[in-house]
């Protein structure tokens, strides 16, 4: 099998907080031993709730932040071992689209300036006609080049965010909740645009979202995260979940069809704090299948085609 485009191995990221006058410093592992791969041309999804480490993982993979430990291979090259010059060269092949089109665009820059920025970082000027071509690719008119972000709607701003990611013709784009702050009507437009771009430009995506329904629609494979760790990898978007947490996520996702109402079960227990994880399985307090074994030790991710980190999977 060919080398995947992205291969992350045992990534860990520890954050320190506090340490001021009054607060004792505390450490938390935002990402705990995450290994994953993204094949060329696929859309790999990462799903999980707020604080599960999705965005930290995204930034680690692009090496926008340094991992505490672990490795990231991009197209066979170990990004964690590259010199700054080599890293800059590789980095133009990767890009990111951020969740919030309101705060990720500098309000003082025109759209044209926003799109020229990635070239400036690489110490180049954008080729003639490139800005207009980028706008066209994302379905915006060339007239918008002189607008400021506040003059655009949320959907238009996110299109500018996508155009900026496309500026240097990357191979790989991390999409970090690109539609989370948009109306469903606009979300659907953006997802349609992203699929079309992927087909036309042969892109590979890592798509991060809290919305399992959307991830199952858009992605080929789905990585499920809970409190910093991968708990399951669905080999196909429509595979039946094996991990109790993934089941809970499924049951919490409502279909637009009153005939498919979910019978909800009361979830006991609060989500544990990432600063103070239990010694066993992190899902045990809320898990209907939890046994003494689950509270005593942490399950590891295993199981070939459809790996799951659980002592009693479905």
């Amino acid at each position: 099998m060919a080398e995947p485009l992205i291969r992350a191995e045992a990534l860990e990221k520890r954050f320190q907080t506090g340490g001021g006058l009054l607060k004792k410093p505390r450490a938390m592992l935002a990402v705990r031993g995450v290994s994953l791969s993204v094949e060329r041309g696929e859309v790999a999804g990462v799903v999980g709730e707020s604080g599960c480490g999705k965005s930290t993982l995204a930034r680690l993979i692009l090496r926008l932040i340094e991992p505490t430990s672990g490795r990231i291979h991009f197209d066979g090259q170990d990004l964690t071992a590259l010199s700054n010059t080599d890293l800059r060269r590789q980095r133009r092949r990767m890009a990111m689209v951020f969740q919030d089109p309101y705060s990720s665009l500098d309000p003082r820059f025109t759209v044209a300036e926003v799109l020229a920025e990635p070239f400036r970082v690489q110490r180049e000027a954008p080729p003639a006609g490139r800005i207009a071509a980028l706008l066209d690719q994302v379905g915006l008119s060339a007239k918008m080049a002189d607008s400021f972000p506040h003059q655009l709607s949320g959907g238009q701003r996110q299109r500018v965010g996508i155009a900026r990611a496309l500026a240097q013709a990357p191979d790989f784009i991390v999409l970090d909740e690109p539609t989370a702050s948009l109306d469903v009507s606009i979300q659907a437009q953006i997802i349609a645009l992203l699929s079309e771009l992927r087909q036309r430009l042969g892109l590979t995506y890592l798509f991060i979202s809290h919305d399992l329904g959307l991830v199952r629609y858009f992605c080929d494979r789905v990585v499920v995260m809970y409190l910093g760790a991968v708990v399951e990898v669905l080999p196909r978007a429509d595979a039946a979940p094996r991990h109790p947490y993934t089941r809970t996520l499924m049951d919490s996702t409502f279909a637009p069809d009153p005939r498919q109402r979910k019978v909800l079960r009361a979830l006991e227990g609060e989500i544990p704090s990432a600063f103070d994880l239990p010694k066993g399985c992190a899902f045990a307090v809320r898990c209907p299948r939890a046994s003494d074994a689950c509270r005593a030790a942490r399950p590891v991710l295993e199981g070939g085609e459809h790996p799951v980190a659980c002592f009693h999977p479905f």
Binding site: G155, V184, I186, A192, R216, L249, S252, F254, A255, D257
Partner: protein, 319 residues
């Protein structure tokens, strides 16, 4: 009928963001109010809860009849006994409803003391009861916490407890779960549904999420650019949407087994109030628009109840 809104029209300064809304809501019932951002959902909530003056707005026509009294015709002083007591509002951001420097238990207690005249001890007993009912673990300890010590889902449950404490007849909940994680959202939606059935409350649930509507609402009112597009029972509305906008909104939600590429969205944007188009306000985005749509469509009553405001309602079965 507990709440009966007729031809509700709202003005703020020179603009008319809401025009001629009519809908009803009875005890033991959940009405979902849906539409894209800017369609007028929050303004409808403010009109029903008498809060329009806060933003310089007023009801310029129509009536909001609550338990036999037209609230739209009451002076501010006579509205006060309704607000918070008989009609409670729950908003999206719990921090706007919670006092950051007061313990949450006291904030819930005060509702029963103020509105039901209970003494401190009785009020606390009720608070603990309510928190248990909302499945807040260790409710007595939680009473002593300050808001910042609680998670978002927990804070929202406290706000719901405050709304319930005065034993209102009607709760208007404006996006109560939008800011929460899906598993927490599912829990809160479930609890709200149970409370409505058990206590015979009426709930107006405002959301942009058609999945949430399908999960708990009995009836649905679909709002577009300040007008009602369609209002019907949830079953037929989702199975056979008649208004092109309802259909388009439903089709924006990814479903199990949906073919790739079938999610296309709705072209264009919700217009701003100053730019509401003439005629049917949806016409610039509607695939079925024709010359007739230059006229404002009347709300037409439907054989299976409810009404649809469209010159060319759809008949075909959906999904």
């Amino acid at each position: 009928m507990l709440l009966s809104v007729e031809n509700l029209t709202v003005r703020i300064g020179k603009v008319e963001p809401l025009s001629g809304l009519s809908f009803t809501l009875d005890r033991g019932e959940i009405l979902g109010l849906v539409g894209e951002s800017g369609s007028g959902k929050s303004l409808t909530a403010m009109a029903v809860t008498g809060l329009l003056p806060l933003i310089g707005g007023r009801i310029s026509a129509g009536s909001v009849v609550f338990d036999g009294t037209d609230l739209a015709a009451l002076p501010e002083a006579r509205l006060r006994p309704y607000r918070g007591k008989r009609i409670a509002l729950v908003t999206q951001n719990p921090m706007t409803a919670l006092d950051p420097v007061q313990r949450v238990g006291d904030q819930v207690d005060i509702m029963a003391r103020l509105h039901l005249g209970m003494d401190a001890k009785a009020a606390r007993a009720r608070t603990v009861d309510l928190l248990n009912r909302l499945r807040i673990p260790e409710s007595r300890t939680v009473c002593d916490a300050y808001p910042h010590q609680l998670s978002g889902g927990m804070k929202q449950r406290i706000v719901i407890a405050m709304a319930l404490a005065a034993e209102p007849d009607l709760i208007v909940a404006d996006e109560p779960t939008t800011a929460l994680d899906v598993t927490v959202q599912a829990q809160i939606i479930h609890i709200l549904g149970e409370l409505v059935r058990e206590r015979g409350l009426a709930l107006m649930l405002i959301t942009h999420d058609m999945g949430v509507v399908a999960q708990v609402c009995d009836r649905v009112a679909v709002l577009y650019a300040g007008r009602l597009a369609e209002t019907r029972e949830a079953g037929p509305l989702f199975a056979r949407p008649r208004h092109p906008y309802t259909r388009a909104l439903i089709d924006c939600i990814p479903r199990e087994g949906m073919a790739p590429g079938s999610l296309t969205g709705i072209p264009g944007l919700v217009p701003s109030v100053a730019q509401y188009p003439a005629g049917c306000r949806f016409h610039p985005r509607c695939l079925h628009a024709d010359a007739a749509c230059q006229q404002v469509p009347e709300a037409r009553p439907q054989a299976d109840g409810g009404s649809v405001s469209c010159h060319h309602p759809m008949e075909a079965d959906h999904g």
